[in-house]
């Protein structure tokens, strides 16, 4: 496989994740997973360029993004647990208490 194939794959991953954020109306967990998928697509891009250019900095950037993704998911899960305790549901459609 060439680099273009890998980059196409990561772009498809990213678009799938965008679709997951925009079209999902069922569960807040799916939104969180879509965000993780986006960051994985970013990592994939960095790693492809890193291998292609034989440069370690891309892998370093991927590690940083991985750490950010881990912190993001940990924080997101903590917030979702708090939400579940107060609301009793994880459905997106009920998160309509504030409008205007």
């Amino acid at each position: 496989m060439t680099a273009v194939n890998y980059l196409t794959f990561s772009t498809i991953l990213f678009l799938l994740a965008i679709g997951g954020v925009l079209l999902n109306s069922q569960n807040l967990f799916i939104l969180l997973m879509s965000i993780e998928l986006m960051l994985l697509a970013v990592n994939m891009n960095f790693l492809v360029f890193s291998v292609l250019l034989d440069d370690m900095m891309g892998q370093l950037l991927a590690l940083f993004i991985l750490a950010v993704a881990a912190a993001d998911s940990a924080m997101g899960l903590a917030i979702l647990v708090t939400t579940y305790r107060t609301r009793g549901t994880m459905a997106v459609e009920y998160a309509t208490g504030m409008k205007g």
Partner: protein, 517 residues
Amino acid sequence: MTELGFGSRLPYGSTISPECIPIPSSIIILMIDSTHEGDTYWSYPISLTCPVIGIMVPLSQWREEPIISPACGAQTNTCDDIFQSSILLRSILRAPLSAEHFQCTEMAVTESPFFALAATLGGMFPRCASDLVTISVAPERSSLCLHPSSGCTSRDVRPSEATVKYSLLGGTSSSILVHGFPWLYGPPGGEVQPWGILNGIVESKMQNSAGISIAPVRIMAGIVFKPSLVPYHQWTPDVYEGSPTPVVAFPPVTSKVAASGLATRIFNLLSPLSGEWHLLPEILAILSTILGNLIAIAQKSMKRMLAYPPISQIGYITIGLIAGNPSGYASMLTYTLFHIFVNLGALARIALFSSRTGTDSIRDCAGSCGQDPLLALRPTLSPSPLGGFPPLSGPFGKPYSSWCGRQAGLYPLVPIGPLTSVISIYHHSKIIKLLMGERGGRKLATPRTINKRIPSLSSPHTPESLIELGTMPRVVASTTLGLTMNPVTTTARDNIPNQIFAHTATILMDFGEMSSE
């Protein structure tokens, strides 16, 4: 200029010494919290002391010349120091209100000062960000701590909903933002420094390639979420409405100030890449200033209504950013300072007011002047600088940003300031009329009496002294800052962030285009 080599680590390290102060403070708060049982109000003096020390460091390191690292371009200068000081100032102003709120609600959790310190630290990093690693991690570092601070300590439904919306939308925008960075890293040949990226693009003649064109669009789409420019503004009203009133302004204002510093860095990097880069922020600035003021008219909640003037104010800040000239940066910086004082002042006064009325509804505040004239005067004062009544700070900032727009040839942006000021004055006048004249509001409750449990902060007077203490400097600053803005403007005009880099980069890109032809 102060040229620093790779070997001189000490002077280079001193540029990030203000960032190093919140780290031990956060660790101390966590360690004491994990070992100490019982009262946790001690964490607030620590969270107040840290930004006070932090703000002294850039003032003691005050310099006229930027520190340049040969590897990274411009690292930091006085303009960045002012940005950093404004974030620390924001943190100082937040502490009394937060302490008062958690004292009243008896929820003195240490998470709140900890997240505030961590978010302050994250907001300070973009000012010295000069490579892709720091630029990509710094906004995440800030926003991850701001998400829970908008309402994690409350067990109510609305704060949790606001936090969920903020964290999920913030995560999405950050992911879109960082998705642009691989396309700046890979095609130029594995470069992470701005100099290297532009050199790589010129050498590989990729100025017009699809990958390089897509990168600025993604970065722009990600970065405009943080200052909540229209149409990425939806999280701000929800956070304002959902969060407890005394702590509500911390996440949006910190996010806006930090994003302004980061946007300066990123736009300096993007401007040589595309000649039309300013078209998108120009449209967003116009939309923000107009819609921010128009939507505010239709609001029924006082807090939600106060969320929209900051959206329009970020439009004025963006005008200075797009202008890209010394006056533009000066206007951006001065308007950011206005933004901090005016919004925090407005919310502190609304916090005092809503603690007596027990509601956020605008209609329930009708005729409050008859019951307590002094209390009604507080929210009356807050719309004045927001609306732009002279001689307060608003009328000085708006014409200045419009003038900078005209100077930079951004003619569509010039009439926006006066036009939106009229709309703003109209709807703020409606609120003043409601408070002063109309009837049908709720009866005001008597002020609460609570035990003073913060010995180092509380004054021997009223129980609301902490909020009043926090309100006083904001009122003074929001009313008089317009008259005393000249030193800030002069300093900002003389110390432009990355001016040398942007200028040289533009020459480099022009040279690349000529050689490719």
